[in-house]
Protein backbone atom coordinates (compact mmCIF):
# COMPACT_ATOMS: atom_id res chain seq x y z
CA UNK A 1 0.00 0.00 0.00
CA UNK A 2 1.35 3.39 -0.88
CA UNK A 3 1.48 6.25 1.55
CA UNK A 4 -1.34 8.03 -0.22
CA UNK A 5 -3.52 4.95 -0.20
CA UNK A 6 -3.01 4.52 3.55
CA UNK A 7 -3.82 8.14 4.11
CA UNK A 8 -7.07 8.06 2.18
CA UNK A 9 -8.15 4.67 3.57
CA UNK A 10 -7.78 5.87 7.14
CA UNK A 11 -8.88 9.39 6.33
CA UNK A 12 -12.17 8.26 4.88
CA UNK A 13 -13.03 6.23 7.93
CA UNK A 14 -11.75 8.56 10.60
CA UNK A 15 -10.65 12.04 9.57
CA UNK A 16 -8.34 12.62 12.53
CA UNK A 17 -6.47 9.37 11.75
CA UNK A 18 -6.04 10.66 8.22
CA UNK A 19 -4.58 13.80 9.72
CA UNK A 20 -2.17 11.71 11.79
CA UNK A 21 -1.04 9.77 8.72
CA UNK A 22 -0.64 13.05 6.94
CA UNK A 23 1.52 14.36 9.74
CA UNK A 24 3.63 11.20 9.70
CA UNK A 25 4.09 10.78 5.99
CA UNK A 26 3.78 14.24 4.47
CA UNK A 27 7.07 15.94 3.64
CA UNK A 28 6.51 18.83 6.01
CA UNK A 29 9.69 18.91 8.07
CA UNK A 30 12.86 20.79 7.33
CA UNK A 31 15.74 18.64 6.17
CA UNK A 32 18.14 20.11 8.77
CA UNK A 33 16.99 18.39 11.95
CA UNK A 34 18.99 18.99 15.11
CA UNK A 35 19.08 16.33 17.80
CA UNK A 36 18.13 18.91 20.42
CA UNK A 37 14.89 19.58 18.49
CA UNK A 38 13.67 16.31 19.94
CA UNK A 39 13.68 17.76 23.49
CA UNK A 40 9.91 18.56 23.64
CA UNK A 41 9.19 15.05 22.36
CA UNK A 42 11.50 13.55 24.97
CA UNK A 43 9.80 15.67 27.64
CA UNK A 44 6.41 14.26 26.63
CA UNK A 45 7.79 10.70 26.63
CA UNK A 46 9.45 11.18 30.03
CA UNK A 47 6.17 12.55 31.42
CA UNK A 48 4.23 9.59 30.06
CA UNK A 49 6.81 7.26 31.60
CA UNK A 50 6.45 9.01 34.96
CA UNK A 51 2.68 8.72 34.69
CA UNK A 52 2.96 4.96 34.08
CA UNK A 53 5.37 4.29 36.94
CA UNK A 54 3.34 6.59 39.20
CA UNK A 55 0.16 4.70 38.34
CA UNK A 56 1.81 1.42 39.34
CA UNK A 57 3.05 2.91 42.61
CA UNK A 58 -0.40 4.34 43.34
CA UNK A 59 -1.61 0.73 43.59
CA UNK A 60 0.52 0.35 46.73
CA UNK A 61 1.01 3.88 48.04
CA UNK A 62 -0.82 4.75 51.24
CA UNK A 63 -0.77 8.43 52.28
CA UNK A 64 -1.68 7.51 55.84
CA UNK A 65 1.48 5.42 56.14
CA UNK A 66 3.51 7.17 53.48
CA UNK A 67 7.05 6.19 54.44
CA UNK A 68 6.16 2.61 55.32
CA UNK A 69 4.30 2.16 52.04
CA UNK A 70 7.25 3.47 50.03
CA UNK A 71 9.47 1.05 51.94
CA UNK A 72 6.93 -1.65 51.13
CA UNK A 73 7.13 -0.79 47.43
CA UNK A 74 10.92 -0.90 47.54
CA UNK A 75 11.21 -4.11 49.54
CA UNK A 76 8.12 -6.27 49.00
CA UNK A 77 6.65 -5.48 45.59
CA UNK A 78 8.01 -7.43 42.61
CA UNK A 79 10.58 -5.15 40.99
CA UNK A 80 9.12 -2.41 43.16
CA UNK A 81 12.57 -0.95 43.85
CA UNK A 82 12.97 -0.55 40.10
CA UNK A 83 9.57 1.07 39.63
CA UNK A 84 10.26 3.47 42.50
CA UNK A 85 13.67 4.26 40.97
CA UNK A 86 11.97 4.82 37.59
CA UNK A 87 9.80 7.44 39.21
CA UNK A 88 12.53 9.15 41.25
CA UNK A 89 15.13 9.14 38.47
CA UNK A 90 12.39 9.95 35.96
CA UNK A 91 11.71 13.17 37.86
CA UNK A 92 15.40 14.05 37.74
CA UNK A 93 15.56 13.29 34.00
CA UNK A 94 12.38 15.25 33.27
CA UNK A 95 13.63 18.36 35.05
CA UNK A 96 16.97 17.98 33.30
CA UNK A 97 15.17 17.93 29.93
CA UNK A 98 12.90 20.87 30.78
CA UNK A 99 15.74 23.06 32.07
CA UNK A 100 17.83 22.11 29.03
CA UNK A 101 14.96 22.92 26.66
CA UNK A 102 14.34 26.32 28.26
CA UNK A 103 18.02 27.14 28.13
CA UNK A 104 18.26 26.13 24.46
CA UNK A 105 15.24 28.22 23.47
CA UNK A 106 16.78 31.19 25.29
CA UNK A 107 20.08 30.63 23.56
CA UNK A 108 18.58 30.30 20.07
CA UNK A 109 16.04 33.07 20.88
CA UNK A 110 13.26 30.89 19.50
CA UNK A 111 10.93 32.48 22.08
CA UNK A 112 10.41 35.49 19.79
CA UNK A 113 7.23 35.77 17.71
CA UNK A 114 5.73 33.51 16.55
CA UNK A 115 7.36 31.26 19.15
CA UNK A 116 6.14 33.10 22.24
CA UNK A 117 3.15 30.83 22.75
CA UNK A 118 5.37 27.75 22.75
CA UNK A 119 7.67 29.58 25.20
CA UNK A 120 4.80 30.35 27.58
CA UNK A 121 3.72 26.73 27.46
CA UNK A 122 7.28 25.67 28.29
CA UNK A 123 7.46 28.09 31.25
CA UNK A 124 4.02 26.99 32.38
CA UNK A 125 5.18 23.37 32.14
CA UNK A 126 8.17 24.20 34.33
CA UNK A 127 5.97 25.93 36.92
CA UNK A 128 3.53 23.00 36.98
CA UNK A 129 6.32 20.45 37.21
CA UNK A 130 8.05 22.32 40.05
CA UNK A 131 4.77 22.12 41.95
CA UNK A 132 4.17 18.47 41.07
CA UNK A 133 7.81 17.66 41.89
CA UNK A 134 7.55 19.29 45.30
CA UNK A 135 4.42 17.31 46.05
CA UNK A 136 6.10 14.09 44.98
CA UNK A 137 9.01 14.90 47.27
CA UNK A 138 6.60 15.46 50.17
CA UNK A 139 4.65 12.29 49.35
CA UNK A 140 7.79 10.17 49.86
CA UNK A 141 7.06 10.54 53.57
CA UNK A 142 10.69 11.15 54.46
CA UNK A 143 11.89 13.52 57.15
CA UNK A 144 12.95 16.20 54.67
CA UNK A 145 9.62 16.10 52.85
CA UNK A 146 7.76 16.30 56.13
CA UNK A 147 9.77 19.34 57.18
CA UNK A 148 9.06 21.04 53.89
CA UNK A 149 5.32 20.35 54.24
CA UNK A 150 5.44 21.50 57.87
CA UNK A 151 6.93 24.83 56.80
CA UNK A 152 4.42 25.25 53.99
CA UNK A 153 1.51 24.45 56.29
CA UNK A 154 2.77 26.84 58.97
CA UNK A 155 3.12 29.56 56.37
CA UNK A 156 -0.39 28.82 55.12
CA UNK A 157 -1.81 29.20 58.61
CA UNK A 158 -0.10 32.57 59.07
CA UNK A 159 -1.19 34.03 55.72
CA UNK A 160 -4.03 36.55 56.04
CA UNK A 161 -7.03 36.81 53.77
CA UNK A 162 -7.73 34.95 50.57
CA UNK A 163 -4.20 33.57 49.93
CA UNK A 164 -4.23 31.96 53.36
CA UNK A 165 -7.69 30.54 52.76
CA UNK A 166 -6.57 29.04 49.44
CA UNK A 167 -3.43 27.61 51.01
CA UNK A 168 -5.38 26.08 53.89
CA UNK A 169 -7.91 24.68 51.42
CA UNK A 170 -5.05 23.17 49.44
CA UNK A 171 -3.14 21.64 52.36
CA UNK A 172 -6.10 20.78 54.55
CA UNK A 173 -4.68 22.40 57.64
CA UNK A 174 -1.47 21.80 59.58
CA UNK A 175 0.96 19.05 58.51
CA UNK A 176 -0.92 15.79 58.85
CA UNK A 177 -1.44 12.55 56.96
CA UNK A 178 -4.67 14.15 55.70
CA UNK A 179 -2.47 16.62 53.81
CA UNK A 180 -0.66 13.75 52.11
CA UNK A 181 -3.93 12.18 50.98
CA UNK A 182 -4.99 15.35 49.19
CA UNK A 183 -1.47 16.05 47.96
CA UNK A 184 -1.51 12.59 46.34
CA UNK A 185 -4.68 13.61 44.53
CA UNK A 186 -3.27 16.99 43.45
CA UNK A 187 0.02 15.35 42.45
CA UNK A 188 -1.88 13.03 40.09
CA UNK A 189 -4.24 15.64 38.68
CA UNK A 190 -1.55 18.25 38.09
CA UNK A 191 0.78 15.65 36.58
CA UNK A 192 -1.93 14.85 34.04
CA UNK A 193 -2.36 18.57 33.46
CA UNK A 194 1.39 18.78 32.83
CA UNK A 195 1.01 15.98 30.30
CA UNK A 196 -1.63 18.06 28.51
CA UNK A 197 0.64 21.12 28.57
CA UNK A 198 3.48 19.05 27.15
CA UNK A 199 1.15 17.94 24.35
CA UNK A 200 0.24 21.58 23.76
CA UNK A 201 3.92 22.47 23.64
CA UNK A 202 4.49 19.86 20.94
CA UNK A 203 1.54 21.16 18.92
CA UNK A 204 2.56 24.79 19.33
CA UNK A 205 6.11 24.04 18.23
CA UNK A 206 4.87 22.17 15.19
CA UNK A 207 3.10 25.33 14.06
CA UNK A 208 6.12 27.58 14.47
CA UNK A 209 8.70 25.13 13.17
CA UNK A 210 10.56 26.53 10.15
CA UNK A 211 8.89 25.50 6.89
CA UNK A 212 10.99 23.68 4.30
CA UNK A 213 11.60 25.15 0.87
CA UNK A 214 9.09 23.76 -1.70
CA UNK A 215 10.11 20.26 -2.77
CA UNK A 216 12.85 20.06 -0.15
CA UNK A 217 10.79 18.83 2.83
CA UNK A 218 11.16 15.44 4.45
CA UNK A 219 8.53 13.29 6.16
CA UNK A 220 8.49 12.39 9.85
CA UNK A 221 8.66 8.77 8.82
CA UNK A 222 11.33 7.51 8.49
CA UNK A 223 13.68 10.47 8.88
CA UNK A 224 12.57 12.07 12.12
CA UNK A 225 11.54 8.71 13.57
CA UNK A 226 15.14 7.54 13.17
CA UNK A 227 16.29 10.74 14.80
CA UNK A 228 13.89 10.34 17.71
CA UNK A 229 15.02 6.74 18.19
CA UNK A 230 18.66 7.81 18.27
CA UNK A 231 17.91 10.62 20.73
CA UNK A 232 15.84 8.26 22.89
CA UNK A 233 18.60 5.66 22.93
CA UNK A 234 21.17 8.19 24.13
CA UNK A 235 18.66 9.48 26.68
CA UNK A 236 18.03 5.91 27.88
CA UNK A 237 21.78 5.41 28.25
CA UNK A 238 22.17 8.47 30.49
CA UNK A 239 18.96 7.54 32.32
CA UNK A 240 20.15 4.01 33.08
CA UNK A 241 23.47 5.27 34.44
CA UNK A 242 21.56 7.52 36.86
CA UNK A 243 18.92 4.90 37.61
CA UNK A 244 21.22 2.05 38.53
CA UNK A 245 24.31 3.80 39.85
CA UNK A 246 22.94 7.00 41.43
CA UNK A 247 19.33 6.18 42.36
CA UNK A 248 19.24 8.91 45.02
CA UNK A 249 20.80 11.57 42.82
CA UNK A 250 19.92 15.06 44.02
CA UNK A 251 17.79 13.85 46.92
CA UNK A 252 18.60 14.88 50.51
CA UNK A 253 19.91 11.85 52.43
CA UNK A 254 17.79 12.78 55.43
CA UNK A 255 14.73 11.78 53.39
CA UNK A 256 15.78 8.16 54.02
CA UNK A 257 14.51 8.72 57.58
CA UNK A 258 10.82 8.28 58.27
CA UNK A 259 8.87 11.51 58.75
CA UNK A 260 8.92 12.37 62.42
CA UNK A 261 8.02 15.69 64.01
CA UNK A 262 11.01 15.22 66.32
CA UNK A 263 13.51 14.64 63.51
CA UNK A 264 14.16 17.80 61.56
CA UNK A 265 16.85 18.30 58.95
CA UNK A 266 19.22 21.20 59.47
CA UNK A 267 18.50 23.92 56.92
CA UNK A 268 17.22 23.55 53.37
CA UNK A 269 16.84 19.93 52.31
CA UNK A 270 15.15 19.83 48.93
CA UNK A 271 15.64 17.83 45.72
CA UNK A 272 18.05 19.46 43.29
CA UNK A 273 15.42 20.73 40.86
CA UNK A 274 13.79 22.91 43.52
CA UNK A 275 17.01 24.41 44.83
CA UNK A 276 17.43 27.44 42.50
CA UNK A 277 13.91 28.73 43.20
CA UNK A 278 14.33 27.95 46.90
CA UNK A 279 17.47 30.10 46.75
CA UNK A 280 15.47 33.00 45.29
CA UNK A 281 12.81 32.55 47.98
CA UNK A 282 15.44 32.46 50.75
CA UNK A 283 17.17 35.57 49.46
CA UNK A 284 14.07 37.73 49.90
CA UNK A 285 12.91 38.63 53.40
CA UNK A 286 9.80 37.21 54.96
CA UNK A 287 7.06 34.95 53.74
CA UNK A 288 5.70 37.45 51.20
CA UNK A 289 9.22 38.05 49.95
CA UNK A 290 9.63 34.34 49.31
CA UNK A 291 6.28 34.04 47.54
CA UNK A 292 6.98 37.14 45.47
CA UNK A 293 10.48 35.86 44.64
CA UNK A 294 9.21 32.52 43.30
CA UNK A 295 6.34 34.11 41.37
CA UNK A 296 8.55 36.93 40.07
CA UNK A 297 11.28 34.55 38.89
CA UNK A 298 8.75 32.65 36.79
CA UNK A 299 6.95 35.78 35.56
CA UNK A 300 10.12 37.45 34.25
CA UNK A 301 10.97 34.19 32.52
CA UNK A 302 7.54 34.14 30.84
CA UNK A 303 7.89 37.84 29.92
CA UNK A 304 11.11 37.21 28.01
CA UNK A 305 9.48 37.62 24.52
CA UNK A 306 8.68 41.25 25.44
CA UNK A 307 11.83 41.96 27.38
CA UNK A 308 13.81 41.06 24.25
CA UNK A 309 13.64 44.34 22.32
CA UNK A 310 15.37 43.12 19.17
CA UNK A 311 12.12 42.30 17.39
CA UNK A 312 11.44 39.20 15.26
CA UNK A 313 14.09 40.02 12.69
CA UNK A 314 16.73 41.35 15.07
CA UNK A 315 20.26 40.12 14.74
CA UNK A 316 21.72 37.55 17.12
CA UNK A 317 24.23 39.32 19.30
CA UNK A 318 27.31 37.64 20.79
CA UNK A 319 27.06 39.69 23.97
CA UNK A 320 23.50 38.61 24.71
CA UNK A 321 24.43 35.02 24.00
CA UNK A 322 27.25 35.30 26.55
CA UNK A 323 24.84 36.87 29.05
CA UNK A 324 22.48 33.91 28.63
CA UNK A 325 25.34 31.56 29.48
CA UNK A 326 26.13 33.67 32.53
CA UNK A 327 22.47 33.44 33.56
CA UNK A 328 22.67 29.64 33.35
CA UNK A 329 25.74 29.72 35.61
CA UNK A 330 23.88 32.10 37.94
CA UNK A 331 20.97 29.65 38.26
CA UNK A 332 23.40 26.79 38.92
CA UNK A 333 25.14 28.91 41.54
CA UNK A 334 21.79 29.71 43.15
CA UNK A 335 21.10 25.99 43.47
CA UNK A 336 24.55 25.17 44.78
CA UNK A 337 24.45 27.98 47.37
CA UNK A 338 20.97 26.97 48.41
CA UNK A 339 22.24 23.43 49.05
CA UNK A 340 25.29 24.66 51.02
CA UNK A 341 23.19 26.33 53.70
CA UNK A 342 25.89 25.85 56.33
CA UNK A 343 28.18 28.32 54.63
CA UNK A 344 28.19 31.62 56.56
CA UNK A 345 28.46 33.50 53.25
CA UNK A 346 25.33 31.80 51.86
CA UNK A 347 22.80 34.59 52.60
CA UNK A 348 25.03 37.20 50.97
CA UNK A 349 25.71 35.01 47.92
CA UNK A 350 22.03 34.11 47.55
CA UNK A 351 21.19 37.81 47.55
CA UNK A 352 23.80 38.54 44.90
CA UNK A 353 22.76 35.68 42.63
CA UNK A 354 19.06 36.58 42.97
CA UNK A 355 19.85 40.20 42.20
CA UNK A 356 21.74 39.14 39.08
CA UNK A 357 18.82 36.92 37.95
CA UNK A 358 16.34 39.80 38.02
CA UNK A 359 18.94 42.30 36.76
CA UNK A 360 19.53 40.04 33.75
CA UNK A 361 15.88 39.92 32.76
CA UNK A 362 14.66 43.36 33.74
CA UNK A 363 17.67 45.55 32.82
CA UNK A 364 20.27 43.71 30.77
CA UNK A 365 17.88 41.94 28.40
CA UNK A 366 16.04 45.05 27.09
CA UNK A 367 19.22 47.12 26.99
CA UNK A 368 21.54 44.67 25.31
CA UNK A 369 19.02 43.32 22.78
CA UNK A 370 17.97 46.84 21.76
CA UNK A 371 21.60 47.86 21.45
CA UNK A 372 22.54 44.80 19.40
CA UNK A 373 19.51 45.13 17.08
CA UNK A 374 20.83 48.42 15.71
Amino acid sequence: MTTDAKQSWAGERMPCLGGLCGALFAPRCTPEGKYLDTLPGLIAIALAFLTLSGAVMAAYYDPWHAFASVQFIRREVNNGWLVQAYHATGATALFGLVYLHLFRVMLTRAYRAPGEFAWWLAVKLLALLLFVGWMGFVLSGGAAGYWSLFNAANAAVSLPGAPGAVARWFLGGPAAPASLARLEMFHTVLALAALAVAGGLLAARRKVAPQPAPGKGVAFYPYYLAQYLAALAVFALIFSVLLFFAPHFGQPAVNALAADPLTLPAGTALPWYLLPLAGVADALPGLWGGVAGVAGALVVLAALPWLDRAGPDGAKGKLYCALTWILALDVLALGATSAAHDNPQAPLLLGLFTLWYFFHFLVLTPLVTAMEAK
Binding site: P31, A68, Q71, R74, R75, W81, L82, A85, V218, P222, Y223, A226, Q227, L229, A230, L232, A233, V234, A236, L237, S240, V241, L243, F244, F245, P247, H248, A253, V254, A256, L257, A258
Partner: protein, 236 residues
Protein backbone atom coordinates in the same frame (compact mmCIF):
# COMPACT_ATOMS: atom_id res chain seq x y z
CA UNK B 1 16.60 -15.04 74.90
CA UNK B 2 18.46 -13.87 71.82
CA UNK B 3 21.80 -14.34 73.52
CA UNK B 4 20.86 -17.83 74.58
CA UNK B 5 19.80 -18.59 71.06
CA UNK B 6 23.01 -17.44 69.40
CA UNK B 7 24.87 -20.79 69.41
CA UNK B 8 21.87 -22.44 67.78
CA UNK B 9 21.79 -19.78 65.13
CA UNK B 10 25.50 -20.14 64.56
CA UNK B 11 25.02 -23.87 63.98
CA UNK B 12 22.21 -23.16 61.57
CA UNK B 13 24.32 -20.74 59.63
CA UNK B 14 27.17 -23.25 59.50
CA UNK B 15 24.83 -25.53 57.56
CA UNK B 16 24.22 -22.69 55.12
CA UNK B 17 27.79 -23.30 54.05
CA UNK B 18 29.26 -19.82 54.05
CA UNK B 19 32.53 -19.73 52.18
CA UNK B 20 35.77 -19.37 54.12
CA UNK B 21 36.00 -15.66 54.77
CA UNK B 22 38.79 -13.63 53.30
CA UNK B 23 40.50 -10.90 55.24
CA UNK B 24 38.58 -7.66 54.60
CA UNK B 25 40.16 -5.71 57.42
CA UNK B 26 43.73 -5.16 56.13
CA UNK B 27 43.19 -2.89 54.37
CA UNK B 28 39.58 -2.28 55.37
CA UNK B 29 37.23 -2.68 52.42
CA UNK B 30 33.62 -3.61 51.83
CA UNK B 31 32.52 -5.67 48.85
CA UNK B 32 29.29 -3.64 48.73
CA UNK B 33 31.08 -0.36 48.07
CA UNK B 34 31.93 1.05 44.68
CA UNK B 35 29.98 1.40 41.44
CA UNK B 36 29.81 -2.35 40.82
CA UNK B 37 29.84 -3.51 44.45
CA UNK B 38 27.76 -6.45 45.57
CA UNK B 39 26.73 -7.65 49.00
CA UNK B 40 29.24 -10.03 50.58
CA UNK B 41 26.69 -12.64 51.67
CA UNK B 42 29.09 -14.47 53.98
CA UNK B 43 29.97 -11.22 55.77
CA UNK B 44 26.31 -10.16 55.87
CA UNK B 45 25.33 -13.51 57.40
CA UNK B 46 28.00 -13.05 60.05
CA UNK B 47 26.78 -9.49 60.50
CA UNK B 48 23.24 -10.76 61.01
CA UNK B 49 24.52 -13.08 63.74
CA UNK B 50 26.12 -10.06 65.44
CA UNK B 51 22.94 -8.03 64.93
CA UNK B 52 20.75 -10.75 66.37
CA UNK B 53 23.06 -11.49 69.29
CA UNK B 54 24.14 -7.98 70.24
CA UNK B 55 22.32 -5.13 68.47
CA UNK B 56 18.81 -6.62 68.61
CA UNK B 57 18.85 -6.35 72.38
CA UNK B 58 17.97 -2.66 71.90
CA UNK B 59 17.52 -1.92 68.17
CA UNK B 60 14.81 -2.94 65.73
CA UNK B 61 15.08 -3.32 61.96
CA UNK B 62 11.39 -3.39 61.34
CA UNK B 63 11.44 -2.97 57.57
CA UNK B 64 13.01 -6.44 57.36
CA UNK B 65 11.15 -9.74 57.56
CA UNK B 66 12.76 -12.93 58.73
CA UNK B 67 11.90 -14.42 55.35
CA UNK B 68 14.00 -11.65 53.72
CA UNK B 69 17.05 -13.37 55.21
CA UNK B 70 16.64 -16.04 52.54
CA UNK B 71 18.23 -13.49 50.19
CA UNK B 72 21.42 -13.80 52.26
CA UNK B 73 21.56 -17.55 51.63
CA UNK B 74 19.50 -18.89 54.52
CA UNK B 75 17.04 -21.63 53.62
CA UNK B 76 13.33 -21.00 54.35
CA UNK B 77 13.60 -23.47 57.24
CA UNK B 78 16.54 -21.58 58.74
CA UNK B 79 14.73 -18.25 58.42
CA UNK B 80 11.71 -19.78 60.09
CA UNK B 81 14.02 -21.25 62.75
CA UNK B 82 15.54 -17.84 63.48
CA UNK B 83 12.05 -16.39 63.81
CA UNK B 84 10.99 -19.27 66.05
CA UNK B 85 14.06 -18.65 68.20
CA UNK B 86 12.73 -15.24 69.18
CA UNK B 87 9.28 -16.72 69.87
CA UNK B 88 7.38 -15.11 67.03
CA UNK B 89 3.87 -16.34 66.42
CA UNK B 90 3.68 -15.88 62.68
CA UNK B 91 7.07 -17.27 61.79
CA UNK B 92 9.22 -16.01 58.98
CA UNK B 93 6.59 -13.49 57.86
CA UNK B 94 7.33 -11.45 61.01
CA UNK B 95 9.49 -8.33 60.96
CA UNK B 96 12.62 -7.76 63.01
CA UNK B 97 10.75 -5.75 65.61
CA UNK B 98 11.93 -3.81 68.59
CA UNK B 99 12.55 -5.96 71.66
CA UNK B 100 10.50 -3.48 73.68
CA UNK B 101 6.77 -4.05 73.80
CA UNK B 102 6.05 -0.54 75.06
CA UNK B 103 6.88 1.99 72.35
CA UNK B 104 7.73 4.63 74.97
CA UNK B 105 10.04 2.24 76.81
CA UNK B 106 13.37 2.63 75.02
CA UNK B 107 13.69 6.38 75.38
CA UNK B 108 12.90 6.25 79.08
CA UNK B 109 15.21 3.29 79.61
CA UNK B 110 18.11 4.98 77.86
CA UNK B 111 17.95 8.41 79.45
CA UNK B 112 15.96 9.89 76.57
CA UNK B 113 18.17 8.62 73.75
CA UNK B 114 16.00 6.06 71.96
CA UNK B 115 17.93 3.45 69.96
CA UNK B 116 17.09 4.19 66.30
CA UNK B 117 15.63 1.62 63.94
CA UNK B 118 18.45 0.12 61.89
CA UNK B 119 16.59 -0.84 58.67
CA UNK B 120 17.80 2.12 56.63
CA UNK B 121 20.49 3.56 58.89
CA UNK B 122 23.18 3.13 56.21
CA UNK B 123 21.12 5.20 53.73
CA UNK B 124 20.48 7.87 56.32
CA UNK B 125 24.11 8.58 57.13
CA UNK B 126 26.80 9.95 54.87
CA UNK B 127 29.07 7.10 53.72
CA UNK B 128 26.79 4.91 55.84
CA UNK B 129 28.70 1.62 55.65
CA UNK B 130 31.96 3.20 56.74
CA UNK B 131 30.14 5.29 59.32
CA UNK B 132 28.73 2.18 61.00
CA UNK B 133 32.19 0.60 61.10
CA UNK B 134 33.85 3.73 62.44
CA UNK B 135 31.13 4.28 65.01
CA UNK B 136 31.37 0.75 66.35
CA UNK B 137 35.16 0.89 66.52
CA UNK B 138 35.33 4.58 67.45
CA UNK B 139 35.09 4.34 71.23
CA UNK B 140 38.03 5.83 73.05
CA UNK B 141 38.94 7.40 76.36
CA UNK B 142 37.57 10.94 76.43
CA UNK B 143 40.20 13.66 76.09
CA UNK B 144 40.65 16.05 79.02
CA UNK B 145 38.82 18.84 77.20
CA UNK B 146 35.59 16.84 76.77
CA UNK B 147 33.05 16.96 79.56
CA UNK B 148 30.94 13.82 79.10
CA UNK B 149 27.22 13.88 79.87
CA UNK B 150 26.14 11.29 82.42
CA UNK B 151 25.59 7.92 80.75
CA UNK B 152 27.45 8.95 77.62
CA UNK B 153 30.57 7.57 76.00
CA UNK B 154 33.24 9.24 73.95
CA UNK B 155 33.16 8.19 70.30
CA UNK B 156 35.30 9.72 67.59
CA UNK B 157 32.84 8.94 64.76
CA UNK B 158 29.66 10.25 66.37
CA UNK B 159 28.71 13.87 65.60
CA UNK B 160 29.55 15.81 68.76
CA UNK B 161 31.74 13.00 70.10
CA UNK B 162 29.31 11.87 72.80
CA UNK B 163 27.07 8.87 72.28
CA UNK B 164 24.54 7.31 74.63
CA UNK B 165 25.16 3.82 73.25
CA UNK B 166 27.75 1.94 75.27
CA UNK B 167 30.54 0.09 73.45
CA UNK B 168 28.89 -3.30 72.89
CA UNK B 169 31.23 -5.14 70.53
CA UNK B 170 34.16 -7.00 72.02
CA UNK B 171 36.34 -9.84 70.84
CA UNK B 172 34.39 -13.12 70.67
CA UNK B 173 31.02 -11.56 71.43
CA UNK B 174 29.81 -14.17 68.94
CA UNK B 175 31.24 -17.38 67.54
CA UNK B 176 31.32 -17.44 63.76
CA UNK B 177 30.28 -20.68 62.11
CA UNK B 178 32.69 -20.22 59.23
CA UNK B 179 35.71 -20.02 61.48
CA UNK B 180 36.39 -16.32 61.01
CA UNK B 181 38.13 -14.87 64.05
CA UNK B 182 35.49 -12.79 65.84
CA UNK B 183 37.54 -9.73 66.69
CA UNK B 184 35.66 -6.56 67.57
CA UNK B 185 36.80 -5.03 64.26
CA UNK B 186 35.60 -8.04 62.29
CA UNK B 187 32.23 -7.91 64.03
CA UNK B 188 31.89 -4.19 63.28
CA UNK B 189 32.77 -4.71 59.61
CA UNK B 190 30.32 -7.62 59.32
CA UNK B 191 27.48 -5.66 60.94
CA UNK B 192 28.23 -2.76 58.59
CA UNK B 193 27.89 -5.09 55.59
CA UNK B 194 24.67 -6.59 57.00
CA UNK B 195 23.15 -3.15 57.55
CA UNK B 196 24.23 -2.10 54.06
CA UNK B 197 22.20 -5.02 52.74
CA UNK B 198 19.32 -4.15 55.08
CA UNK B 199 19.15 -0.58 53.78
CA UNK B 200 19.37 -1.63 50.14
CA UNK B 201 18.51 -5.32 49.67
CA UNK B 202 18.58 -4.91 45.89
CA UNK B 203 22.09 -3.43 45.73
CA UNK B 204 23.66 -6.45 44.03
CA UNK B 205 20.80 -6.83 41.53
CA UNK B 206 20.77 -3.10 40.86
CA UNK B 207 24.46 -3.04 39.95
CA UNK B 208 24.25 -6.25 37.95
CA UNK B 209 21.20 -5.18 35.92
CA UNK B 210 22.67 -1.69 35.64
CA UNK B 211 25.87 -2.90 34.02
CA UNK B 212 23.88 -4.91 31.46
CA UNK B 213 21.50 -2.02 30.81
CA UNK B 214 24.34 0.44 30.23
CA UNK B 215 26.10 -1.93 27.83
CA UNK B 216 22.82 -2.59 26.00
CA UNK B 217 21.90 1.08 25.66
CA UNK B 218 25.44 1.93 24.58
CA UNK B 219 25.02 -0.63 21.80
CA UNK B 220 21.52 0.64 20.97
CA UNK B 221 22.75 4.25 20.87
CA UNK B 222 25.51 3.40 18.42
CA UNK B 223 23.21 1.35 16.20
CA UNK B 224 20.43 3.96 16.28
CA UNK B 225 22.84 6.79 15.48
CA UNK B 226 24.34 4.79 12.61
CA UNK B 227 20.89 3.88 11.34
CA UNK B 228 19.77 7.52 11.48
CA UNK B 229 22.83 8.62 9.56
CA UNK B 230 22.22 5.95 6.96
CA UNK B 231 18.57 6.89 6.48
CA UNK B 232 19.33 10.59 6.23
CA UNK B 233 22.26 10.10 3.88
CA UNK B 234 20.10 8.04 1.52
CA UNK B 235 17.80 11.06 1.10
CA UNK B 236 20.47 13.05 -0.73
Amino acid sequence: MRRFFAPLLALGLAAAGAAQAEDTLTPLHFQSQGALGSIDKAAAQRGFLVYQTVCAACHSANALHYRDLEALGLTPDQAAGVAAGVKLADGSAATLDSPFKDPAMPASAFGGAAPPDLSSIVAQRKHGTMYIYKLLTGYAAAPQSVNLLPGHYYNTAFPGGQIAMPPVLRDNAVTYADGTAATAQQEAADVAEFLTWAADPNLSARHQIGLRAVIFFLFLSLVALASKRGIWRERA
